[in-house]
Symmetry: D3
């Protein structure tokens, strides 16, 4: 029954890469905690780089500055 | 003051259906816990089927396979 | 596959009341969107009243003031 | 290491305003709890007004009614 | 900068198992998307089995029924 | 109507400090976006240091290592 929520920057991540994240996160719960994969849910949320900040600076701005 | 967050697959759900979800979830908190509807907040998040997986497989792929 | 997350104040809500919330939220998704109840997940989070604020004032304080 | 998640209605908020939110939320954690700003993360989520309800009524509808 | 949130049932999961989840989820983001592990954050939330439901029935009750 | 969710490590943060976070986060939304403080909600979640990781290492372990 685990739920995994993965937030990443919106960077045109392909459906194939997303499928790998879903598969890998599900397998992690199986391997570490013996969870049933059939009831493991993974959700990926893509966040605009204007909407994400670290160190008080947006990711958009950080990339411009090469941080 | 309750907060209800509902995540559903992005399937062109109409504003009318969303309004029903908002109304129904609010009423549920009133009925079960006697909460004040005026301060009950409902948020609906629609998740792309590529970004949602169960059993290690994305919902996009599950639908293709008829799962 | 819907996920419902309900945040309420931590007020010694009984397991029976929680079961009613789980049942009711699941039924809402069935009724409004025709979702499969077997894959509908509901999570209830109970938040300490010191940790929840509205109008810039914690719920603990609001209750003291009769707000 | 704090994480701040800010959900606001989707109202064409500018990147400048978002940058102010990121800066201000980060500074708040520094000022109140002495947290390291370099590891403070802020995420802003913009929610469609059809998808957000209070008092059992969507924000879209509330605005129409002047609530 | 990815954030991974893992919700599991509260079952006396050991700190060692949690450390494995943290390590594995971080590595997944490195392997699939080439993310920097130093800025990858993982949070594990443990949910009481009374507070988690599937199919309209709490996990506490499901376990009693052997579901 | 904004919602602010602040996740911090569980470190015996006092009710007074939490009240400052609630007040400050609410004021931030007023100052930057002109939001109504009366409908601004702030929730603080305290996360056990075993349950929070950065760089693939739990905060418990990071503190032991002086990271």
């Amino acid at each position: 029954m685990p739920l995994v929520n993965i937030k990443i920057a919106k960077d045109n991540v392909s459906a194939e890469k997303k499928a790998e994240l879903i598969k890998g996160a599900t397998q992690l719960l199986v391997d570490v905690l013996g969870k049933n994969p059939q009831t493991t849910v993974v959700i990926i949320e893509e966040v605009d780089t204007d909407n994400w900040g670290i160190g008080g600076i947006s990711v958009t701005e950080r990339r411009k500055q090469g941080l």
